[in-house]
């Protein structure tokens, strides 16, 4: 069964008297363990699509179905709970909490989830940090890390609660090309080893080349859906 189904999604904004069709009838399925890139020029609707997939925004019409459960009538609280349980995010500018150490940042989703005791949370966080190659940096603060290291922490934070889907909005946009490649390789390795589904938006050709499926959108519509 598809982990995620999108059916005829439309998202229409109003800017004064103008109607902006950010998404205009997007339909697609995402299977478990996919490593999927959404590409397209600025303003094509990539971020809007990711926001709707991430339950951060609601479509004007159409259906979002996670694991067979339609979320069309979900309340904001239900969407928030769904995010807490099933979805993780990796942001372009990492967005780590500056006053928390690396390990505390990674623990944060588990703290919000409130499902495990302290020891379990710490053990899971340390395991994830080891998986992203940040052993020994557990007690550093984000300001003491390089951009690449910060993004690795963000990846560890996204993966620690073992989500069904990890959504990443241009995760390499703030990194130099070498660090960007290392970061995508890391995401691919985790995808391969753990079977975590990744959906990410990008402009970067290198990242597109490493994706196993690339969906190109333009003007809020899917232009191309390629599986490599």
């Amino acid at each position: 069964m598809s982990v995620l189904q999108l059916k005829d999604l439309k998202r229409i904004y109003r800017k004064g008297d103008t109607e902006v069709r950010a998404l205009d009838g997007v339909s697609m399925n995402v299977e478990p363990g996919e490593f999927l890139a959404i590409v397209g020029p600025s303003g094509s609707g990539k971020t809007t699509l990711l926001n709707i997939i991430g339950c951060l925004d609601k479509p004007t019409s159409g259906e979002v179905i996670y694991d067979g459960t339609p979320l069309g009538t979900a309340t904001p609280k239900q969407l928030s709970d769904y995010r807490k349980d099933r979805i993780s995010f990796i942001f372009q500018s990492y967005n780590l909490i500056p006053v928390l150490t690396v390990v505390e940042n990674v623990e944060l989703p588990l703290v919000i989830e409130k499902r495990h005791d302290k020891k379990v949370m710490r053990a899971k966080a340390l395991e994830m940090l080891a998986a992203v190659g940040l052993e020994g940096k557990e007690h550093r603060y984000p300001r003491e890390l390089s951009g690449g290291q910060e993004q690795r922490v963000a990846i560890a934070r996204a993966l620690v609660k073992e989500p069904a889907v990890v959504l990443a909005d241009e995760p390499t946009a703030n990194l130099d090309s070498r660090t960007a490649e290392e970061t995508v390789d890391l995401m691919r390795r985790i995808n391969a080893e753990r079977g975590t589904t990744f959906v990410f938006s990008t402009h970067d050709k290198m990242v597109m080349e490493k994706a196993r499926r690339v969906i190109t959108i333009r003007d809020g519509k899917i232009l191309l859906d390629e599986v490599k």
């Binding site: 926001n51 991430g54 951060l56 925004d57 609280k77 928030s80 709970d81 995010r83 807490k84 349980d85 993780s88 995010f89 942001f91 500018s93 967005n95 909490i97 500056p98 006053v99 928390l100 505390e104 623990e107 944060l108 989703p109 703290v111 919000i112 989830e113």
Partner: protein, 419 residues
């Protein structure tokens, strides 16, 4: 909750300058409130102490008829057995240390050229010194017990008005007990300068022997003034005065014993009005501190909008977001309030131990006849410290709630887009 506390506490510490400024505003506001409260109580204490030490005493014993005719300052309705009354009042309460007889009459003082009306006070010089501090307030010459017969002591202001000095002679005229006018010549034996303007500007003191001769009376005593041991604060002084007067009223039939609360009722009424105005000013100071807290938390919210977006994206509930920012306010509130109480306590300690010379503060400014000179000492008031702390804490809590609520209601997408 542990992680929320951690984030809140570390954020407070992270923005040191901002936290410091708010903390200082709160510390100053609350500290000044505590000090001003202490100073106001101290001013009241000083004023009441001056009344006790120079004009009113701890309580007064008079006949009810004399009190009813007080405005006329009559030479009737005196205390029938002053010695017995003094003995009786000394036995009423062990806190009473002395009692002295007094009487008053309307007089005119003349330097042979000009005359001024005044209320003369008749005293027993030795016993009066055990109740009042006039003998210690002589600026020239001597108090009556060291002066010879036919002498008077004048207030320094009155003497200046009539261009008199020690050794000069004055004519004092007054209505006698037989309702005719008599006058006599007196040597100015001393000049008194006290914290009480009414004494300085109109004080005329003479002995019972001199008054009897002038007025045709025979040891007429209109009031007995009473001294007590020093009370630790104004509240206990007023309470003790009322309590002792009530006891004395029961044991002294035919006489009326008025406590300080009655003798100083005009001032106490004015004090209540003054208190309201002062607290309004203090509230404005505290309000400024409150604005500082709101500003700090608001700045904290705006500086961390993306952080809020991340927390919400990961499923943190609006209530938890609210709690996070409220905790920051509570931490700032608790630290600022504690600092304010400590700062206030330090100021009060200085006020209590060293005090301020009122002359240096007020100078020669006319305080509208208020008896407010000497050294102003503060008074400890644990109530104002508790209020200051609670106010700071509650204001910080409320001030943090407003931006915290706003933060919790932000859309995740808007928060994440925020630059």
């Amino acid at each position: 909750m542990g992680t929320l506390w951690k984030i809140a506490a570390r954020n407070v510490l992270r923005h040191k300058r901002r936290t410091l400024i708010t903390g200082i505003v709160m510390t100053m506001g609350i500290g000044m409130f505590i000090m001003m409260d202490s100073m106001l109580i101290g001013m009241d204490r000083l004023t009441i102490d001056n009344m006790v030490d120079y004009t009113e005493s701890f309580m007064k014993i008079r006949t009810p008829e004399y009190v009813n005719n007080l405005q006329g300052t009559p030479l009737d309705y005196g205390i029938p057995d002053p010695e017995g009354a003094m003995k009786a009042v000394l036995a009423v309460d062990r806190r009473i240390t002395a009692a002295a007889p007094r009487s008053r009459f309307v007089a005119s003082v003349s330097n042979y050229e000009d005359a001024l009306p005044t209320i003369a006070t008749v005293v027993d010089p030795a016993r009066d010194g055990a109740v009042f501090q006039l003998a210690d307030s002589m600026v020239a010459g001597a108090w009556l017990d060291a002066a010879g017969p036919g002498s008077v002591v004048l207030g320094s202001g009155l003497a200046e008005e009539l261009s008199l000095k020690v050794g000069d002679y004055v004519v004092v005229s007054a209505s006698t007990a037989y309702e005719n006018v008599n006058a006599d010549e007196y040597l100015v034996a001393g000049l008194v300068s006290s914290p009480m303007p009414e004494i300085n500007n109109g004080g005329l003191f003479m002995t019972f022997a001199a008054a009897d001769e002038l007025l045709g009376t025979s040891g007429f005593v209109s009031e007995i003034v009473v001294a007590t041991e020093r009370m630790p604060n104004l509240g206990s002084l007023l309470a003790a005065s009322s309590e002792v007067a009530a006891k004395a009223n029961k044991t002294m039939p035919g006489l009326r014993v008025d406590p300080l609360t009655e003798l100083a009722k005009d001032y106490l009424a004015m004090r209540a009005m003054k208190g309201k105005a002062s607290y309004f000013i203090i509230m404005v100071v505290l309000l400024i501190a409150a604005v500082g807290i709101v500003n700090t938390i608001l700045m904290s919210v705006y500086a961390r909008i993306r952080e809020i977006g991340v927390l919400k994206a990961y499923g943190m509930s609006p209530k938890e977001i609210q709690r996070l920012f409220t905790l920051e306010g509570i931490i700032i509130g608790a630290v600022g309030s504690a600092g304010g109480v400590l700062f206030g306590a330090a100021l009060v300690w200085y006020m209590v131990t060293t005090g301020f010379p009122m002359g240096a503060i007020v100078g020669k400014v006319d305080m509208g006849g208020l008896p407010l000179t000497g050294t102003l000492y503060g008074e400890w008031n644990p109530g104002s410290m508790a209020f200051g702390f609670a106010f700071g804490f509650v204001v910080a809590f409320i001030a943090a709630r407003i931006p915290a609520k706003r933060a919790s209601k932000m859309e995740v997408t808007d928060a994440l887009r925020f630059v």
